[in-house]
């Protein structure tokens, strides 16, 4: 069989390292959530909220998210193109360079080296490492696609290529800077231009790191899990192109009510609302693919993760455009509503799809059945309850916060001081920390289940097709 030459060992290694970085991200997230309710838990200079928060976000997005993108892309590209990887050596280099980059990022952020650009905090030497890493990855994926056996490319390959190309452009443009020492640089842009480029990057990191690759995974792992094809491939293609055309204009919705030109803000607002269409194109495609298969929500734990994941995607892509409307943004921006929105995506959409992908991959990369499906179900409920506790508590907090900030007395003075609004947040911040703890418990159950699978899971026939690779 053709698959005898597929390199699954590299996939297994990336899955393992992604889980390690994901655990770091959630653990640090829980720590910073407790630092919010008890400032005495800050231990300067290294273990303060200001230094740990970017470690939480970068470990989550780049360690867990990008790590899983590497793992699943390297798996999917082989299966969808029906050919082995173009270069196993490049993939192996990519694995260790990825870990070196993540470690270098964590260490420098802890030491206080930062560009202060959100989601792009790492200083210029690490930018160089990221670019090398991405180019190596891009070459391997694109060269593998070029030697594919089927002429027609499945939708996942389209999303993969878009993510690879777009991330390269976004990262390099936003990283443009003038180094003044080994760990200090100044942005090549100034003032509102700098802000505009930063949020063009920032929002499209959401698009091309946290959306397109996970749609590629969803479109691959849903039909593989249910055993039936997606509802419409042509609809997925249209949703893909409309998402690609629209997303790149929306970054300025992070800069509403700022000195950025008004027409750019309006254009970003308009495109943000239009984005509902392609986003829900994928959501409907997912739901319609379940026609006649909804019983699998009870019987197939993979489907639960995937359908809840796409549901969170749908909710987030309705909430996001609403937040991009000027009037609503004026009310809700800078409140705790916004992190709740982001975590709906990261803890709900992105991580649900990652967990489903890993559960699907486990029998194939370990050659063993999953150790315990009841534990997988427990994992599902813990992360669902943890995530909802997290987000709902902060949505309420955000509305309360915005209401108090905007409240005015009849003479035009503010009704509440800033400190009074802070004190009101404490119950919700406790609920957030509690939700994070539940989510962490779910993650630990997941890791335990995988550990037991690797050690004791029942061997399956599929292992005959799993060949020890070179990673």
């Amino acid at each position: 069989m053709e698959n005898q030459t597929y390199n699954y060992a590299i996939v297994r290694s990336f899955v393992t390292w992604s889980i390690i970085w994901g655990l770091v991200a959630v653990l640090v997230g829980v720590i910073v959530s407790f630092q919010m309710v008890d400032p005495d838990l800050n231990f300067p200079p290294y273990l303060t909220f200001g230094r740990l928060r970017p470690i939480h976000t970068n470990a989550g997005i780049y360690g867990w998210g990008i790590g899983m993108i590497f793992a699943t892309f390297l798996y999917m590209v082989q299966r969808l193109c029906k050919v082995p990887l173009w270069s196993d050596k490049l993939a192996k280099f990519q694995l260790w360079f990825f870990n070196a980059t993540i470690i270098a990022s964590a260490v420098t952020l802890l030491l206080g080296y930062t560009t202060s650009k959100e989601y792009h905090e790492m200083e210029w030497p690490i930018d160089v490492m990221v670019v090398i890493l991405w180019v190596v990855f891009a070459i391997n994926i694109i060269m593998t696609i070029l030697k594919r056996k089927d002429e027609q490319m499945y939708i996942s390959l389209w999303y993969m290529m878009a993510a690879i190309i777009a991330v390269a452009i976004l990262y390099i443009v936003n990283a443009a800077a003038v180094p003044v020492s080994l760990f200090k640089s100044y942005s090549a842009y100034a003032g509102t231009n700098d802000a505009n480029v930063e949020w063009w990057f920032g929002h499209n990191a959401v698009a091309m790191v946290l959306t397109a690759p996970f749609l590629a995974m969803f479109y691959y792992f849903l039909p593989k899990s249910t055993g039936v094809p997606i509802y419409s491939h042509r609809m997925s293609i249209i949703a893909f192109w409309s998402l690609i055309f629209m997303y790149l204009w929306t970054g300025a919705h992070h800069l509403l009510w700022t000195p950025v030109p008004d027409w750019i803000q309006t254009l970003a607002m308009g495109f943000s609302i239009m984005l509902i269409a392609p986003s829900w194109g994928s959501v409907f495609n997912g739901y319609l693919s379940m026609n006649g298969q909804w019983h699998q929500m009870r019987e197939n734990y993979l489907v639960k993760f995937l359908i809840l994941g796409i549901t969170f995607y749908g909710l987030q892509t309705l909430q996001g455009p609403m937040q991009a409307i000027r009037t609503f943004s004026a009310f809700i921006h800078y409140t705790d509503w916004v992190p709740a929105h982001i975590h709906l995506g990261t803890m709900g959409w992105v991580s649900m799809i990652c967990f489903a992908s890993i559960y699907y991959l486990v029998p194939r990369i370990y050659g063993r059945e999953l150790y315990s499906i009841p534990l997988a179900n427990l994992h599902f409920w813990l992360i669902l309850v943890g995530q909802l506790t997290w987000s709902i508590s902060l949505w309420i907090a955000g509305v309360l916060q915005a209401g108090m900030w905007n409240a005015m007395n009849s003479d035009g003075s503010l009704t509440y001081t800033f400190m009074e609004t802070m004190v009101e947040m404490y119950p919700y911040w406790w609920a957030r920390a509690f939700g994070g703890m539940i989510y962490l418990a779910g993650l630990i159950v997941f890791i335990y289940n995988l550990y037991k699978t690797a050690k004791k899971g029942g061997a399956i026939a599929a292992q005959a097709t799993v060949v020890e690779g070179r990673a």
Binding site: L80, K82, D150, P223, P229, S232, R234, I237, F245, P261
Partner: protein, 46 residues
Amino acid sequence: MDLASIVYLGVTFGMFVIFVLIVIRTYSKKRKDEGEIAKYQMLDDD
């Protein structure tokens, strides 16, 4: 509007035209089978 905003909107409109052409091509009756074949092929490989 200054030149920059006209160029910005012009590029936006140009991309919209390209998008319309993609929609027309994807949903042309002649390409119906070709457009859907990949979803069946991806299930074959296992």
